[in-house]
């Protein structure tokens, strides 16, 4: 029987949780401002593909060497930002249904990377392999510190700055925020765009951190797990981090254990470990474990009477 609490498992939990944390915290900005974000998956794909492609270009074309992943990282963030901008205009300006637009973004981003890589790299949906030393740092310690700082920063922004106060108020009661002189659409744009940047970053880490290339549909539902973590974390930064770590842990277990996990003398097929995040989310949403109350204005376009 293998010890499932080995150090290597902790390390891979941190590694696997990282893209989830980034995307989930992005989703947090969007959803706390009142915009549902089922498009996290698409934004992660955009970030992952762009980061890998840009890193490759920086490396091979411009010879930027070890600096190239950092350029790629910025590329990934910008890609997330760009996709988020399309989403934001559709949901906020045109008041399109947020779920439909999100689904559209997800489908679009299943196609775009393959479409572009066919032209850029003459491949069917993947980018060329990057050298091992031209990737983002992967030391669990470094990542843990970076994530710690980020979560603290987001917590601070959300609860200790005027922007955070306005963001939370817009997601709860946009009319009240409007009456207090806050621009509802301005705040929602910022929330959705920030979500794009962070989800793009999460995607970038997937392709040029955890892996060394982009492959077709490489997020494999991580955007949805991030969404689940956000709900499980009750739309709060620290709880969301913990939820991501839990979900990262289930993924780490399922990868390391290859097949079945022995637990208390019983063999548990890995698929049941994989299901845990989704089952937990349904249970939490139904109100069985405490109450997970979404921001009150979530999903409702703000229609000011004219």
């Amino acid at each position: 029987m293998r010890d499932i609490f080995a150090w290597s498992l902790v390390a891979s939990t941190i590694r696997l949780a990282t893209p989830l944390v980034l995307a989930a915290l992005g989703g947090l900005f969007s959803e706390r401002s009142g915009v549902i974000n089922i498009a996290l998956e698409g934004k992660m794909l955009a970030g992952a593909f762009t980061a890998a492609a840009v890193t490759y270009a920086a490396d091979v074309r411009f010879g930027m060497g070890t600096a190239s992943p950092w350029v790629g990282l910025i590329g990934g963030m910008l890609a997330g930002l760009f996709i988020a901008a399309i989403y934001a205009v559709s949901c906020i300006k045109f008041k399109a249904d947020q779920v439909v637009s999100g689904a559209a973004i997800n489908i679009l981003m299943l196609g775009i990377p393959g479409f572009l890589s066919g032209a850029l790299f003459l491949s069917s949906g993947s980018t060329p392999q990057l050298p091992k030393d031209h990737l983002l740092p992967q030391s669990p310690l470094v990542i843990a510190i970076a994530i710690g700082i980020l979560v603290f920063a987001i917590w601070y922004v959300l609860y200790k700055t005027p922007f955070g106060l306005r963001l939370r108020s817009v997601g709860e009661n946009p009319e009240a925020a409007d009456a207090a002189g806050v621009s509802v659409s301005g705040i929602r744009y910022s929330g959705v765009l920030l979500a794009g940047v962070l989800a793009g970053l999460g995607g970038a880490y997937l392709s040029i951190g955890q892996s060394s290339l982009f492959t077709r549909n490489m997020t494999a539902g991580r955007g949805f797990i991030a969404l689940a973590a956000l709900i499980f974390g009750k739309w709060r930064p620290v709880q969301t981090l913990l939820a991501c770590l839990l979900f990262g842990f289930t993924e780490a277990v399922s990868i390391q254990m290859q097949g079945t996990v022995k637990f208390g003398g019983e063999e548990i097929p890995v698929q049941f470990i994989n299901m845990v995040p989704y089952v937990l989310t349904i249970i939490v949403l139904a109100g069985f474990i405490g109450t997970s109350r979404p921001p009150r204005a979530l999903g409702i376009p703000y229609q000011k009477e004219k």
Binding site: K160, T161, P162, F163, G164, L165, R166, R168, S169, E172, N173, E175, A176, A177, D178, A179, A180, G181, V182, S183, K304, E305, K306
Partner: protein
């Protein structure tokens, strides 16, 4: 301080403000009175930048200003406390007050200085609140204080208060008026929107009276009295006298015993221990200012309120209805003409034909094919055309969506549908709201005819003229309680009006 000039505002078909002129002098308390729907709130929401006027000007301190959003209004020193508070319930008092005007830098909220400023303001105006308490834990009176502090914190020189006393107990009202007087002493200007005449007389310096979107009177408070104001508020040009004989009332069809209904998360009692009965062949009217529990009462009787939110008994034809849903109540012969035809009464995207069967759609003769599953199209058409003809619904085309009809014709369709089931008890709310005069007369005649056929009718209307002329007995509701019963043939409008606004 504030002047509205020739403000006009239209919502769809409704002319909410028709060339409204209001002048508010600095350092005064100015009351704007009128019935519901008179356009008071619309005018003030325009002044606060929530709505934009179709035409007209707003002057602040004698200068024409373009107020496009609340943000602009705040910058000009205007604050507004809305009837429904604009507070984020999950956030604290301090967070709500500073929202949009946060102290400190962009990267750090200075909650300490905010708290001290709030404390200073609350001492100055005697508005005691705890800055760190979440708003959802506060009483309604405390929430109102937060709203006032919010405006004062933004250095408002003019405060617009929309129905501020509606949510307060009499004791709280006294305290609240003391606060307003203190504000006036400090040089603030206050506009108070209300329909409670006693309060106008008690607190204001000047009054503007509105009716049907127009200003119909400008008075000094000291020169007027409640009777004069009431007449200006309710006076109508057209007086429709309904031709009817004395009722031939039979035995009780509906008995309501000590009924209470709670609403909302906070569980306030909207209907509070109400008892009355409606007999066959009579129209019992319920008069009252809107929002005094009429809506909840009618919904409870129609079976649209969860049993867990009700106490007391609803007895119909000797049977207790409390646990029965809307469908079974309909089957027992209760019909309902709801107050809000868009929210409750109609499926706007459905055709007239489809709307004409709502409530009976699941049983013969409508669902009559293949084991009463498939709808009988020809039966639906017949029913729709009958209703359209009998109630003169125009245009008479059953294939049109209900959305395409005018308000009056939509109402006729609903009334026709509910009459068609030959009810034993009819619940009617605001039957002629937004309906043109010709249709009003028609609807009134139909109600009397139904009464004469032996139906028991419970009528709620905000139009005093309507309830007094139609009802055989008239109950007055105030804050969820029956404030009194009068004989509509002998009671004066003033008498009823005072019961409506004071509750005694």
């Amino acid at each position: 301080m504030l002047e509205l000039r020739q403000i006009t505002k239209r919502f769809g078909d409704v002319l909410a403000n028709d060339q409204v002129d209001i002048v508010v002098k600095p350092g005064t308390i100015h009351a704007i009175v009128g019935e519901n729907g008179a356009g008071k709130s619309t005018a003030m929401r325009i002044a606060y930048g929530f709505y934009t006027a179709d035409s007209g000007q707003i002057l602040v301190d004698g200068q024409v200003r373009d107020i496009k959003s609340p943000h602009d209004a705040i910058a000009l020193g205007i604050g507004m406390v809305h009837q429904h508070f604009m507070l984020v319930e999950t956030m604290t008092v301090a967070e709500n007050i500073i929202l949009g005007a946060e102290p400190g830098s962009a990267v750090a909220l200075d909650l300490k200085s905010a708290a001290s400023q709030i404390r200073q303001l609350s001492e100055e105006f005697k508005l005691a609140v705890n800055p760190n308490e979440p708003v959802e834990h506060l009483s309604v009176g405390q929430q109102q204080r937060v709203e006032l502090l919010k405006a004062l914190y933004r250095h408002a020189r003019l405060l617009i208060l929309d129905e501020p006393t509606a949510v307060l107990t009499p004791l709280e009202v006294e305290e609240f008026f003391a606060i307003l007087r203190r504000m006036r002493e400090q040089g603030k200007t206050v506009i108070i929107i209300t329909h409670k005449l006693s309060e106008v007389l008690a607190i204001s310096d000047e009054v503007t009276v509105m009716r049907d979107g127009k200003v119909v009177g400008r008075l000094q408070t000291k020169d007027t009295n409640a009777a004069e104001l009431a007449r200006m508020m309710v006076g109508r040009e057209v007086l429709l006298r309904v031709e009817k004989t004395d009722p031939n009332a039979g035995r009780a069809q509906l008995e309501v015993k000590n009924l209470s209904v709670v609403a909302g998360v906070e569980g306030t009692k909207r209907v509070n221990g109400v008892s009355f009965e409606v007999r066959r062949g009579e129209i019992v009217g319920i008069a009252g200012v809107e929002g005094n529990g009429q809506t909840e009462l009618m919904e409870a009787l129609a079976g649209l309120v969860e049993p867990s939110r009700m106490t007391g008994q609803i007895i119909y034809d000797g049977k207790n209805l409390n646990a029965l849903g809307a469908r079974i109540r309909r089957e027992l012969g209760i019909a309902h003409i709801p107050e809000d035809r868009h929210r409750r009464g109609l499926l706007l995207d459905f055709t007239l034909a489809e709307n004409s069967i709502l409530g009976v759609h699941y049983r013969p003769p409508i669902a009559a094919i293949a084991g009463d599953i498939i709808l009988d199209e020809s039966a639906i058409q017949r029913r729709a055309n009958e209703i359209i003809q009998a109630f003169d619904v125009r245009p008479p085309n059953a294939a049109l969506p209900a959305r395409a009809l005018s308000g009056g014709n939509q109402q006729k369709l609903i009334i026709g549908r509910e009459y068609r089931v030959d009810p034993k008890l009819l619940l009617v709310s605001q039957p002629t709201r937004g309906v043109d005069i010709g249709a009003i007369e028609f609807i009134h005649r139909q109600l009397v005819r139904l009464r004469d056929d032996g139906c028991a009718i419970l009528l709620v209307s905000a139009e005093l003229e309507e309830v007094t002329s139609l009802s055989d007995r008239l109950l007055i509701i105030h804050e969820g309680r029956i404030a009194g019963e009068v004989d509509p043939k002998v009671a004066t409008l003033e008498e009823i009006g005072l019961l409506m606004t004071r509750g005694h």
